[in-house]
Amino acid sequence: MFATLAAEAVSTVTTVTNDAAWFLENAWIIPLLPAISFALILFFGKRMPYKGAEIGITAVSVSFILAILTGVAWLDHRDHFELEKYGEEQAIAVSDGAASATDTVAYTARFVAAEAGEGGAHPYVAVQSSTQWLQSGGIEFNAGIMVDGLSVMMLFVVTFISLLVHVYSTDYVGGDRRYTHFFAFLSLFTASMLFFVLSDNILQMIVGWELVGVCSFALIGHWWEEKPNSDAALKAFLTNRVGDVGLLVGMITLFFAAGGGKTFDTIKINEAVVQGGVSHTALVVAAACLTAAVMSKSGQFILHTWLPDAMAGPTPVSALIHAATMVVAGIYMVARLYPVFWEGMQIEGSSINLLATVGAITVVGAGLLAFVQDDIKKVLAYSTVSQLGYMAMALGVGAWTAAVFHLFTHAFFKANLFLGSGSVAHAVHSFDMKKDMGGMRKFMPKTYVTFVIGSLALAGVFPLAGFWSKDEILVNTGGWDLLGGSGAAPGSYTFHFVMGMIGAALTAAYMTRCVYLTFHGEYRGGHAAHDDHGHDHEEDAAHGHHGEPHESGPRILYPLYILSAFSILIGFVNLPPGFLAGSKKDPAGWQERFLHFVEPAGSSYFPAVGHATPSWSLAIVASLVAVAGAGFAYYYYFIRLDRLSKQLGESLVAIPNGITTTNVFARAGHTLLVNKYYFDHLYTGIIAGFTKGPLARAANWINQNVIDGTVNKAGESAVQAGQLVYHKIDQAVVDGAVNLSGRVSDASGEELRAINSGKVQNYAALMFAGAAVLAGAFVILLAL
């Protein structure tokens, strides 16, 4: 049903705008609109009836519509590609259709063959239009846009979620003093993200990359009155800047090494790399540096510390920037410059590489950390870091489509979760699950439903989006066929496969914990008045409803509904082949649509990426693992703790929760004494708690002290070095030398003063003596 509807939509639209190419060439309007809205809001926002929000929303919605039209135009372009319409020079990446059908990659060949069935395979051609930006020292810098499957997908995601977040924020940020300011920067962010997504050369990527960083700085620090917020904003920006060093160096290496040297153009660089014209060392250096940039921007393990702190910003910001769009910029960049990583990291055929390993570690590390958090947004933040780890791992193991598809689905359900948590926090005025939430199911049933859908999608339960994308990644790690699965993935990354599986289990577990603590048990937040570190917007407190929290307004709920619908349905966009074998009428009809439209398979600027054949056995095992994780957490929380808290009569918070406190020996001793009965509970705590408790806290400790510590220490040591250098070297040595010369001349001046004694005779004597000596010298010299 859905497929036919989409097909009609495609045909009707293309007939209407027969020249679909117009959308592809003029996609640059999409980023321009929010940029203009930013300027308008900045100058006229205050005076508008809705204080600037309406400018923002109209701009983003128009961009959204344009994005859809560009998407449709791309679908048409991809399927009915006519060479003459685009002319030779534009069709840069025309390939002869039949992909390099190496027999080993049976799957791709089969697919292409099926494709051929529809009147000749259609080459994948990116539409690029660029103008000269500046020319310096004989080097051309041009700025332009490049529209292909990847950018169209990103356009859709960014504009869609930005629109929802705009609507959501009108209610959420309602009474805030800097309401207009917030919307101005939201538009600027959307504009710079779209600018980044559409850029056709790496210089533009750098520009977009940093602009997005600045907007996140401004939005995280929205309530900059409190120091922790501005600290978080500063930390976010500085960590991104650290990554930017890698970005700069990487891009410069590419600029000189690739594309016959001296070109920023992405397609030329990729083609040069694919044709093998670039020196391997340059590629390794570039890939390593760009991975560093990814690690900082997409919160991979070593430089991820800023992402949880970035939760200090308003929730819509977290939803838009730190879940759906900005953090995936790193992943997008890797996807865009995939040949560089494909060659640089020798993804094909090897079993380990930097990008994949970093991704894998992040998956498990962040998963564990999510367990220990009390703040609902921090849990979601760590889960985002973990999912980004998935995407990075997918890219690392060669599963390009799986990573991009996971990025696509993740954006929806993670945004859904964040907005859901925002709606709960909005009602309770705090983000602390332990103290102020619990039992919200009764007060906010709608948010509860959407939140559960989001969690299930994230955990990867069967019909929902998460299942399809995560499963795709796990298959493509190639680890499964070693354990008896089937299908040849590019590399055999068993270690990453195992980490992926653990990650899946952890995700399910901590999401269940989060759902329980927030929505189940009894409401702990009676005393809603005190919200210690919650963001108390002045006006908001005014109309604060102290009694029972109630469901949020429509402007918050409708985005949640839409996102939940997407979380459910979006998975079907990329069904693995053979899944809908049933419908004879359209055997290949609705399979691999995402792969077909997005992956530039067979184009000249994309390496021949193998696809593992999705295997049923893996799908079942993966979901079983997820269900096990969820079940275990469910058992622990929903049954043990629930009954315990009912039995003991206090709310969950009062009783010392076995997981997070038993391992602090001092308190453990105390609790043990208080209620002997508690003892057997401790056993289950030890068995269940061990894997979650100390490991997570150790990870957290490492994370907070070791990594975060080093980051802070680096900052402090820089300051100390600054003090040392400034006081010791600058003032004492360099400046000292200068002052010394001043003092020396002054002192010698002092001695000479005595000669000027005022007595005339002395002068006469000196004069004559001088004359005598001179005459003498003169005479002697003459005599010689």
């Binding site: 005779q761 004597a765 004559f768 003596a769 004359a771 005598a772 000596v773 005459a775 003498g776 005479v779 005599a783």
Partner: protein, 176 residues
Amino acid sequence: MTGLLLAEFTTTEKWVVNSFWGVIAVVMVYAALRVVTTKNVVHAALWLVVVLAGVAVQFLFLGAEFVAVTQILVYIGAVIVLFLFGVMLTRASMGDDETVADEKRAMAAVVGVLLLAVMAFALVDSFDDVEITADGPQSVTTVSDSIFSQYIVPFEAVSVLLLAALIGAIVVARQD
């Protein structure tokens, strides 16, 4: 008449002239030393008279009798008288003017001797055997011709200078 007297000088034997010159020289040097060392200011002035007279005689030896006469007239006549007036007016330490501290004198003496040595060496080195013959006194006419022909400008300048000095002295020394 003096021209004749001087002409007489030149023709007598060389050694007589030299010995006579030597006496004059010694007297002059002694007088000069006395000028600079005597305690009494008036004595110093008088010794100065002796030196100036000696110089006049030297001029005669050199045949410039007009200069000698001017020397006696102007220098001894006017300058010494002025000095005496000065001494009288200042009624300063007539008798007890002693010189500056000893080590200063030693230093000054050293400077003087050093200067003398250098000059003597230079003179001896370059003019050791130059003969000088006062072959006839320069008559006043040649001197006056040259003054009013070649050196007319300096002559006028000196006249102006003297006038200025005159007025200056009056202005400086005025009582009010």
